[in-house]
């Protein structure tokens, strides 16, 4: 019978359900009392301290900054690059006591001003003062470690990405620079979205300085900015800048520009401006030196424009390189008398002679063979009066007078490159049209393609070649331009490159002064040309504004052209073609 065994097992107090209920109640009451006491302690006794602890130990939200893409030269050398930087900040409530020692230490290690640092370490009522911004993180961490060893308190670091320009002034005019929070000028500004990427964010719980593995953990990774590769050749850019600096200095000129283009692709290999600025220290330079004059300064090109005029006339079949002209000493036109830069009587010149001697009168006589509107069409096709859209901001379109303002007097002056304004890059591209066999390729400084913040796509992939003049016209024009550097017949023997055939054209243009808006007696002297003339590889255009040594295009810009061309040909291992220049007659 099971009944006795049941009773035996239920014997004693423990078996009593009433006892168990009571005991349980007591235990639950004790536990709840403990909870209650803890609650009172947390909420009533010192809530502030615990809230602070919770904030410090709780969920952390950090921005994961996207790394800004580099700006590279054509070989991958950085023109601008991003480095993991830190800012060093101080908490004056902790640093005030030992401010002098701390300031001395920081001044020695971080190249900061002692007095200013001392003042910052002593700011009353502040817990956050910048000591140094954009310090390379290795240095910042070293400094903090040393400070800890020396017992200096109150210093800490925050992320502060650092933009460096290793070349300092190399290509600074095109690259631009990044300020504390935004990009200023150049490629940095135009392709800001492309370069900057998207910041990410992380939200996680920390304990004891480490992430709690099973706690909240949400990470949106940062999308780093893309690199931007340019067509610039850093070493050639450096050389160009230094040669230009010497030339501008020697001529005691206001400024100078030199552009080197690959004749076949339109890639800008170097684009130098002087004076320019140091991109890692832009504040030390005047604002007007921080841009690219090559694209934003419009000026009258002068006689280099004759290349375009005469090429257009040959293309129309109105003249040839051997067409004979009788060039008088002066030419009375409706409103003024046109003169040449050298006094002469009646000269019997061919078109090649007009080009070689840079005769204004001869060019005007030749330009009389244009029908109405033709010249403007050709100049527009050469790219004058419209932006090249090579990928830099603030580009000027130059001034090509509108058809309704285009009078015969205007046409006379435009024929030899006055009364029309261009930028250096426009003019380089126009001269390059002749070098490239009559096909204009728009210049580009971005390799591949990139979309600017305004949505404009530019780059070498977007270049559209456009025929402006026939190949035969380009050849004839080239032969005429070769006569310009001839030591006997030409005006710019200084632009020759020993061993190579060089074609080019000088320009000495009256300059419109910024104050009066009229010709103020100063000049812009220039030289545009290419080599080897029988198989062009590079087009170089040099312009020097307001030289004070009395030099012209041949004597100031010509030697710069020669030096740059010789160096570029060597650098790209272009051998001389070995053919002698054909000698076109300049007189008859």
């Amino acid at each position: 019978v099971p009944a006795p065994s049941l009773r035996r097992r239920g014997d004693g107090l423990r078996g009593s359900s009433q006892f168990r209920l009571r005991a349980g109640l007591v235990i639950i009451a004790m536990v709840l009392s403990v909870f209650g006491a803890r609650l009172v302690q947390l909420q009533a006794v010192d809530p502030g301290a615990y809230a602070a602890l919770a904030a410090a130990e709780g969920t952390v939200e950090v921005v994961l900054p996207a790394e800004r893409g580099d700006i590279l030269d054509r070989n991958g050398a950085p023109l601008a690059s991003s480095v993991d930087g830190l800012m060093i900040v101080a908490d004056p409530s902790q640093t005030e006591e030992a401010a002098a020692e701390t300031a001395a230490f920081l001044a020695e290690r971080l190249d900061v001003d002692y007095i200013e640092t001392l003042a910052r370490l002593r700011v009353r009522g502040s817990q956050f003062q910048y000591i140094a911004r954009r310090v390379p993180s290795t240095l910042a961490n070293d400094v903090l470690d040393e400070a800890a060893v020396l017992g200096i308190e109150g210093l800490s670091t925050r992320r502060d990405p650092l933009r460096t320009y290793p070349g300092r002034d190399i290509a600074a005019n095109m690259v631009g620079f990044v300020g504390t929070d935004e990009a200023f000028g150049g490629l940095e500004q135009v392709f800001d979205d492309h370069l900057s990427g998207t910041d990410g964010a992380a939200r996680y719980q920390v304990g004891g300085g480490a992430r709690i593995p099973l706690g909240t953990n949400e990470v949106t990774p940062a999308i780093d900015g893309a690199d931007l590769q340019t067509t610039i050749d850093r070493d050639l850019q450096w050389y160009t800048q230094r040669v230009l600096r010497s030339a501008v200095g020697a001529a005691r000129a206001d400024s100078g520009i030199a552009v080197i283009m690959d004749s076949r692709t339109g890639e800008v290999l170097a684009n130098a401006d002087y004076p320019t600025f140091d991109a890692s220290d832009p504040a030390d330079y005047p604002t007007e030196d921080r841009g690219a004059r090559s694209i934003n300064l419009a000026y009258e090109p002068g006689s280099v424009g004759k290349v375009l005029t005469l090429a257009a006339l040959i293309d129309l079949g109105r003249i040839s390189a051997r067409t004979r002209f009788v060039v008088p000493g002066s030419l009375a036109r409706q409103d003024r008398v046109i003169k040449d830069y050298f006094p002469h009587g009646n000269l019997r010149m061919t078109t090649a002679g007009i080009m070689a001697k840079s005769s204004n009168i001869g060019t005007v006589l030749a330009a009389d063979r244009f029908r109405r509107g033709e010249m403007r069409e050709y100049l527009a096709a050469f790219g004058l009066g419209s932006r090249t859209d090579l990928g830099l901001d603030g580009e000027s379109a130059g001034i090509l007078p509108a058809p309704e303002l285009w009078t015969s007097q205007t046409e006379d002056r435009i024929a030899f490159g006055q009364s029309v304004s261009v930028t250096a890059i426009q003019m380089a591209a126009a001269v390059n049209t002749i070098a490239n066999g009559g096909v204009r390729v728009s210049p580009s400084i971005v390799k591949g393609r990139a979309v600017s913040d305004q949505g404009i796509t530019s780059g070498t992939d977007t270049v559209v070649p456009r025929r402006v003049v026939s190949a035969n016209t380009a050849r004839q024009t080239t032969l005429m331009m070769e006569r310009v550097v001839d030591p006997e017949d030409g005006v710019a023997p200084g632009a020759r490159v020993a061993g190579y055939r060089v074609a080019g054209k000088t320009g000495t243009a009256q300059r419109v002064g910024p104050e009066c808006g009229c010709y103020d007696g100063t000049f812009s002297v220039s030289f545009g040309g290419f080599a080897p003339a029988d198989d062009p590889r590079f087009t170089i255009y040099v312009v020097v504004h307001n030289p004070r040594n009395g030099g012209g295009g041949g004597s100031v810009a010509g030697p710069v052209f020669s030096q740059l061309m010789a160096h570029t040909l060597q650098r790209y291992a272009v051998p001389p073609t070995g053919r002698e220049p054909t000698v076109l007659p300049t007189t008859w």
Binding site: T138, I170, D235, W238, G499, Q563, A573, G578
Partner: protein, 216 residues
């Protein structure tokens, strides 16, 4: 608890395929006999039989309790170990992340230093200090030994200077002092001294002196 189990058992009487008992009756038996025989068979079939007692069921309990305890303790210890391991890994990860960040920074610094050394300006300064010059014209040598081009020796003149141009010296290094004759004030009264209109006289003189120096 005592386990009493009972089961119904049927006599092993022959049945038909549909379960009805097969009653064998002598030939000539009447309907009554047949009914009675069927009733007997049904009674036989329904009789309960006590299942023989087989002693108390005593499955060993200890292994089961042990198994549950081991699973429980093992689970808890495992969870603890796992948690500890996770925490350790977290610390290790944090340390490694810091190390990676510092190594990245180091790499960037070294890359930066390398770039600074490769900088054309730096190289040009070193080259200039070493007395090196760059050529204006070089010859091209073709395979086979033929050269083309015109070579000229490199000179200082063909080498662009890597150094910033020096600021222009003023034409006169020690300009002559500009003396400005000022009429002595007739009588100075307190009113005059307090008159702010007259006091900047010194400043005006200074301005004039500066302008004079500029012209000189």
């Amino acid at each position: 608890m005592s386990a009493i189990s009972a089961r119904t058992s049927m006599n092993s009487a022959p049945v038909t395929s549909d379960g009805r008992p097969i009653v064998s009756l002598p030939p000539g038996a009447g309907a009554w006999d047949r009914a009675r025989a069927q009733a007997d068979a049904a009674v036989n079939r329904a009789r309960l039989v006590v299942v023989p007692h087989r002693g108390p069921v005593s499955a060993p309990r200890l292994p089961f309790v042990m198994l549950v305890s081991v699973v429980l303790v093992g689970g808890i210890v495992g969870l603890l170990c796992f948690n500890t391991q996770m925490q350790q890994s977290s610390f290790a990860a944090a340390t490694l992340e810091q190390r990676a960040a510092s190594l990245t920074a180091r790499q960037q610094t070294l890359t930066g230093e390398l770039e600074a050394l490769r900088d054309p300006q730096h190289l040009a300064v070193l080259a200039a200090k070493a007395g090196m010059v760059s050529p204006q014209n070089a010859c091209t040598m073709r395979i086979g030994g033929a050269t083309s081009g015109e070579c000229t020796p490199a000179t200082r003149g063909t080498t662009p200077s890597p150094f910033e141009p020096r600021p222009a010296k003023p034409r006169v290094l020690t300009p002559a002092p500009v003396v400005v004759q000022v009429a002595a004030p007739a009588t100075t009264t307190d009113d005059d001294a307090a008159d702010p209109g007259r006091r900047p006289g010194r400043g005006n003189n200074a301005d004039r002196a500066r302008a004079g120096a500029g012209r000189g």
